[in-house]
């Protein structure tokens, strides 16, 4: 029973993990709490659903949903992030929130506010290890998430572009002086975090077989919590935080009740922030964020 719930928690955690990594890219490098990411998460699930119901092949629907999320993220960069440089640090947060409201309402107009049933794409096949039951879809998304994060971590540490990104994260001014083209790099980062969020949305839709215009809010905010619990700006921190938040959620539903989820999840966040604000494996902030 406990082992089964731990497995379920890790599966849910995989989705929080991707969201947390998406947030951490935007915060760690750009110093921008991007509230449009929950909207892009939703866009990934909703648009894939929309294209599939229109009769497009599944692969095409997924690709189109991801492309749309990337495109919207470029708009967010253009209208919410770029004009705000040098102003009050809270302002981009407002505009990115504007995008969240906009995306939710556009989907609401087109699809209505009801939850839609996402078609079952993966055969309902379960693996059994002893007493444990693991769905193929869940296992697939856990593996996919971990592979994505491993690849991203490799990319950041070993490629030239990755080094540029880490330089910008360290000090944007120095990066510009060193000849790094931030005008090219920043949109790239927006696309990367949008793709992570949209992939998380797709995995959520495939796993739980439901989508709605507001599906991004709960998951997105828990992704933020996961990012902070692990340590802002650290990819492995986001991984650890995502899995922990997923576990905390599933275990408190099982052993205490569904209503206390927010108390345990956000209580954990609050406790971490008071006791160890830099997160479990984050380094102490040397500069003011936000």
């Amino acid at each position: 029973m406990l082992a089964q719930q731990i497995v379920n928690g890790l599966m849910l955690g995989a989705i929080y993990m991707l969201m947390a990594v998406a947030f951490t890219l935007a915060i760690g490098v750009l110093n921008f709490l991007n509230f449009s990411l929950p909207g892009l998460f939703m866009l990934g699930g909703m648009l894939a659903y929309g294209f599939i119901t229109l009769g497009f092949p599944v692969i095409f629907a997924f690709a189109a949903a991801l492309a749309a999320a990337a495109l919207v993220s470029l708009l967010v960069e253009r209208f919410a992030y770029r004009p705000m440089q040098g102003g009050d640090p809270e302002v981009p947060l407002v505009s990115s929130l504007g995008f969240l409201v906009l995306l939710e309402n556009l989907m609401l107009i087109y699809f209505g506010s009801d939850q839609q049933a996402f078609p079952a794409l993966v055969p309902d096949l379960n693996l059994r290890f002893g007493g444990l039951v693991i769905g193929i879809a869940q296992l697939g998304s856990l593996v996919l998430s971990v592979l994505l994060v491993l690849w991203l971590s490799w990319f950041l540490s070993s490629t030239s572009t990755g080094r540029c990104i880490r330089t910008v994260a360290e000090s944007r001014d120095t990066a510009v002086l060193m000849g790094i083209d931030t005008g090219r790099l920043v949109p790239l980062l927006f696309i990367a975090s949008a793709l992570l969020a949209a992939i998380a949305g797709l995995l959520f839709a495939v796993n739980y077989q439901q989508v709605s215009p507001f599906m991004g809010e709960g998951v997105g905010f828990k992704g933020v919590a996961a990012m902070i619990v692990g340590g802002m700006g650290s990819i492995w921190g986001a991984v650890l935080g995502g899995l922990l938040i997923g576990l905390a959620e599933v275990l408190s539903i099982t052993f205490i009740g569904a209503d206390v989820v927010n108390i345990t999840v956000y209580g954990l966040l609050l406790l971490i922030l008071i006791v160890r604000p830099q997160g479990l494996i984050g380094r102490p902030a040397t500069r003011e964020k936000l």
């Binding site: 009050d88 809270e90 505009s95 929130l97 905010f221 933020v224 209503d259 206390v260 927010n262 956000y266």
Partner: protein, 287 residues
């Protein structure tokens, strides 16, 4: 006044109170994303006192507000050790925890909500909101407002000049919480019903939106922002389902054009200082 207009104005009054609750800490550079939690404390505490102990409203509402302020004080001291985005996230988590606690508290109805027997009419609500605005206008003319600006602009310099930075931050946070509790207490007694689900993240976040939209440089910003956010969607009601989408587009475009918010210091001084500003700009350009 028609019932519809009164209804809209009452919503406006509540939004104005919430906006000033966010504005106070923000004026000291702290983003409070958990204001709904403090509103919930004020609402539930005052409703509990009038319902269960038959306290008169004039006593229960200030006590509810004071309890919210006290919670802000007690929690603000550890939480304000964090800065910037960490503080924003801590308040965010705090708001979530508080409303989740009320959701599970069976003495106040839990998830089913809590009916409140005593009633405050619209005029009482207007009076309360006007009181909050007057208090803020008064505060903006005291040294306290100067301290807030100093702490926001440069905590190090403020500290060197002898301003107790942490004291000011905690005071602004707790006072903001008390204002939120005050609004929440009136909310409970006007609508005669409180449910924890109302005091969610989006309420907190939207309130921050009003304040930043109105602008944090002057004390008028939150008032203008709240008024705009309450009335504009009503005016767009004709285009029913598109109104929130249109509204969101407007926010994005507006913030891109005018990131400092609608009401700024220079806007208020524009007439008085038209000539001197022109001269100053010219000389700074020359330099």
């Amino acid at each position: 006044m028609s019932g519809y207009l009164t209804g809209v104005l009452v919503v406006l009054a509540f939004n104005v109170m919430a906006a000033y609750a966010v504005y106070l800490p923000l004026a000291a550079g702290q983003l409070n994303l958990g204001i709904a939690g403090f509103m919930a404390i004020g609402a539930y505490a005052s409703a509990f006192l009038t319902n269960e102990y038959a306290w008169p409203m004039w006593a229960a509402i200030p006590v509810g507000s004071a309890l919210a302020g006290l919670t802000g004080l007690v929690i603000g001291i550890p939480v304000l050790r964090t800065h910037g985005i960490y503080l924003a996230m801590a308040t965010f988590a705090l708001g979530q925890v508080i409303s989740a606690i009320f959701l599970n508290l069976e003495v106040v109805g839990g998830a089913a909500g809590y009916p409140v027997s005593d009633y405050v009419g619209p005029n009482g609500v207007f009076l309360a909101a006007a009181g909050v605005v007057v208090l803020m206008l008064y505060l903006s003319r005291t040294r306290f407002a100067l301290y807030l600006t100093a702490v926001k602009s440069d905590p190090t310099v403020a500290d060197l000049l002898g301003v107790s930075v942490r004291g000011i931050q905690v005071a602004a946070f707790a006072l903001g919480a008390a204002v939120a509790g005050f609004g929440g207490a009136f909310y409970a007694h006007h609508y005669n019903f409180v449910e924890a689900q109302h005091f969610n993240v989006l309420l907190s976040v939207f309130t921050v939106l009003y304040v930043l939209f109105g602008g944090t440089q002057t004390v008028w910003g939150p008032l203008v922002g709240a008024a705009f956010f309450t009335l504009a969607p009503e005016l767009l009601r004709a285009s029913d389902q598109w109104r929130y989408a249109l509204f969101a587009i407007f926010i994005i475009v507006f913030m891109a054009i005018r990131p400092e918010g609608l009401v700024t210091t220079s806007l208020l001084r524009f007439r008085r200082r038209k000539n001197t500003d022109g001269a100053a700009a010219a000389s700074s350009e020359a330099a």
